[in-house]
C-alpha cells in the first residue's frame, strides 16, 4: 500500500466515513473475538468445558466488518461459527463465557452453549447448529421488517458449505422476488468441514450464483475489514432503500480446525501458514497506524484493555451459578399448558 498519509484528502470510504473512535472500537472487537475464542479453546483443552466448539480465528474482519455497518434494530442470523457475529452485534463476553460454561448467567442460561450463544436483545436472532438453518429465518425477519415499514435490514451469515443446502436456494429466491432488505453474507473459508469448495460446489465463487437470483453478487477480501465494510455500506444502503437483497461473499480462512475433533487431514500445514500471514488483525493494526489513527502504544493499550475484559469475563463465568435439574423444562414454552 503506497503511504496513505500522502492522500489524506481522498481517503477510501471506510476511513473517510468512520471516526477514529469507531475504527478503534472495530479493532477492539476483533481482539475481543480472537481472545474470547483463544480463552474458550484453552478452557476446553483444560477440560473446564464440554461439548464442541467452532472457532472463527482468522475470520474476525468479516464478522466485525459486516456487523459494524449495522444498527441495534437490524437483525442477524448467525451460524455454528458465530462468536464473532455475536460480539460484533454488541454482546458482552462475560455473558458469552457464562453461557460457554453452562451457567444461569449465560445469555441462554446455560441451555444453548457454544453453538447457540446469542443475545436476542442486540438483534441477534440466534446462532444455529443446523447448516443453512438461519437463511430462511433471516428472510422472514426481513419480511417482518418490510411489513412493519421499518428501514432496518437482516444480515444472514452462512458458510460456503451452506450454499449447497436447498435452504440457500429457496431463501435467495424469496428475498429476491419480494425485494427484501436482506444481506446474505457468505463467509467463504474454503471448506465445509473437510470438503473444499471446489469439491462441493459447481462454481468457483458462491457469488457466481447471485445472477440466478437476480441480485448483486459481491466478492471481497474477507480478511481486510475495510473491503468488507465498504461492500456492506453499499449493500445496506440498497436494502434500506427498499432495492432488495445482496449476496456478499467474504473470502477468508479458519486457521483452526473445523471443530475440536478435526485433525486437519484435508489441508496442508503450508496452506494454513500462508493464511496466517494474512491475519486480519495485524493487517488492520498496521493500516490504522499507517493512517495515523493510532500509534503502536495505543495499539498495545487497546489489546491490553481487551485482555482485562476477557480475564474479568472468564472469572465472572467461572463464578457463575449452575442450573438446577428442576429448572430443566422452565424455558420450553412461553405459556405452559399442563
Amino acid at each position: 500500500m503506497s503511504s496513505p498519509k500522502s492522500h489524506q484528502n481522498n481517503l477510501r470510504p471506510f476511513y473517510a466515513n468512520h471516526s477514529a473512535e469507531h475504527l478503534k472500537k472495530a479493532l477492539r472487537r476483533m481482539h475481543l473475538v480472537r481472545k474470547f475464542e483463544e480463552t474458550a479453546e484453552d478452557s476446553y483443552v483444560r477440560g473446564l468445558t464440554h461439548g464442541t466448539m467452532h472457532l472463527s480465528i482468522g475470520q474476525e474482519a468479516s464478522a466485525i466488518g459486516t456487523t459494524m455497518a449495522l444498527r441495534k434494530t437490524d437483525y442477524i442470523t448467525s451460524t455454528h461459527r458465530g462468536h464473532g457475529h455475536c460480539i460484533g452485534k454488541g454482546a458482552e463476553v462475560k455473558y458469552m463465557f457464562a453461557e460457554f460454561f453452562g451457567k444461569e448467567e449465560g445469555y441462554c442460561h446455560g441451555r444453548g452453549g457454544s453453538m447457540h450463544i446469542a443475545d436476542p436483545e442486540s438483534g441477534n436472532l440466534g446462532a444455529n447448529g443446523i447448516v443453512g438453518g438461519g437463511l430462511p429465518i433471516a428472510v422472514g425477519a426481513a419480511l417482518a421488517i418490510k411489513q412493519q415499514k421499518r428501514d432496518d435490514v437482516a444480515v444472514c451469515f452462512f458458510g460456503d458449505g451452506a450454499s449447497n443446502e436447498g435452504a440457500f436456494h429457496e431463501s435467495l429466491n424469496m428475498a429476491a422476488i419480494w425485494k427484501l432488505p436482506v444481506i446474505f453474507v457468505c463467509e467463504n473459508n474454503g471448506y465445509g468441514m473437510s470438503v473444499s469448495t471446489d469439491r462441493s460446489t459447481s462454481v468457483p465463487n458462491v457469488a457466481d450464483r447471485a445472477p440466478g437470483y437476480n441480485m448483486p453478487g459481491v466478492i471481497v477480501d474477507g480478511n481486510n475489514i475495510a473491503d468488507v465494510v465498504e461492500a456492506m455500506m453499499v449493500a445496506t444502503a440498497r436494502a434500506r432503500k427498499g432495492e432488495g437483497p445482496t449476496l456478499l461473499e467474504c473470502k477468508t480462512y479458519r486457521t483452526r480446525g473445523h471443530s475440536r475433533s478435526d485433525r486437519n487431514k484435508y489441508r496442508s500445514k503450508q496452506e494454513i501458514e500462508e493464511w496466517k500471514l494474512r491475519d486480519p488483525i495485524p493487517q488492520f493494526v498496521n493500516e490504522l497506524i499507517a493512517y495515523g489513527i493510532i500509534d503502536a502504544a495505543e495499539a498495545t493499550a487497546i489489546e491490553q484493555s481487551v485482555d482485562v475484559e476477557i480475564k474479568a469475563g472468564f472469572d465472572f463465568a467461572v463464578a457463575g451459578t449452575n442450573p438446577t435439574p428442576d429448572s430443566l423444562t422452565r424455558d420450553v414454552y412461553a405459556r405452559e399448558l399442563v
Binding site: G129, P136, G140, A144, Y333, R335, L337
Partner: protein
Amino acid sequence: MRELSFAQALGEALAQAMESDPRVFIMGEDIGTYGGAFGVTGDLVHRFGEDRVIDTPISELGAAGAAVGAALAGSRPILEFQFSDFAGLAIEQIVNQAAKIRFMLGGKTSVPVVFRMPTGSGTGAAAQHSQSLEAWYGHVPGLKVIQPSTPYDAKGMLLAAIEDPDPVLIFEHKLLYKMKGHVPEEQYLVPIGKAAVLREGKDATIVGSAIMVHKALEAAEILSAEGIDIEVIDLRSIRPIDKATIITSVKKTTRLAVVYEGVKTLGIGAEISALIAESEAFDYLDAPIIRLGGAESPIPYSPILERAAVPQVENIVEALRNLVQSRA
C-alpha cells in the same frame, strides 16, 4: 343458529385475527387468487392485500423458515401447508428451529407461529397426499399440536393458536372441510390442551380425534341400540394431551378404546394407551386397552383399499362390542 363449513370457520378465524391484529399475516402456496387448495383462504387476498396474504413459491422449507423469522421479528405468521405431507420438507424448521429456539435462547424469545396442516385420507389422492403424521409433532417438546373435529372448534382453536405465544400446529382433516355446523360470529377461543366429552356413557370409553370422533359417535349410536352405552371423548389436543379427562372417564367406564387414522404403530393411540396403563386408572381397567389405528401401509389409491386402510364405523362397532362383552 348460524352455520358455517369447517373451511369457512377457519377462514373466518383468519380474517378476524387479521382484522384485530395488524401483526397477523398468512402465507402459503396458492392461498391468494386461488383461495387455497381447499378454499380456506377464499377471497382474503382481496380483503387484506398481497402483503398480508402471501403466495409463496413452492419452497416449503424456506416458507417455514420465513414464518419462524417473521415471528422472531414481531409478526404473527400463519403458514398453510397445502398438504401436511409436504411439511416433511420443512420439518427441520418446525422441529429444530421453531420448537427449540426459545429453549436454546434460555426463554428470552418465543416463536408465535401457526402451521396449518391439511391432513388425512379419503380423497383418493394416494400415498403422498393422505398421511396423518400428527404423532410425529406430538413427540416434540416446544410444539403445541391440536386437531379440531367441528367447525365450532376449528374457529375457536385456530384463534387460540394464533393468540398463543408458542408454535402451534393445527391438523385439519380434509374430509371435514365441507362439514357444516354452528359457528358464532364473534371471536372466541377454544383452549388448547383440553379434550371434550361429546357423549356420556358407562360401559366403555372411546377416545378419538378429527374425523374419527364422528365415526365413534356413529358407532356409539348403533351400539346404544344394542344397550351398550359408550362414552366418546374428542381428544382435540395431541400436545399437550388432556390426561385428566381421559383418566376420569376410564375410571368410570373401566374400558378404553382409542380410534385414530394415523398408522397404528407409534400413533397417538399408543400414547393414550400408555398414559392410562401407567396411571391410577390402570387398577380400574376391566379389559385390555384396544387401539383401532391406520393400517401398516401407505395410503393406497384404490377406493376399496383406501377404505380398508383406516378404521370404519363397522370396525369400531365390532371392536367395542367385543370389548364390552369381554370378561369383567
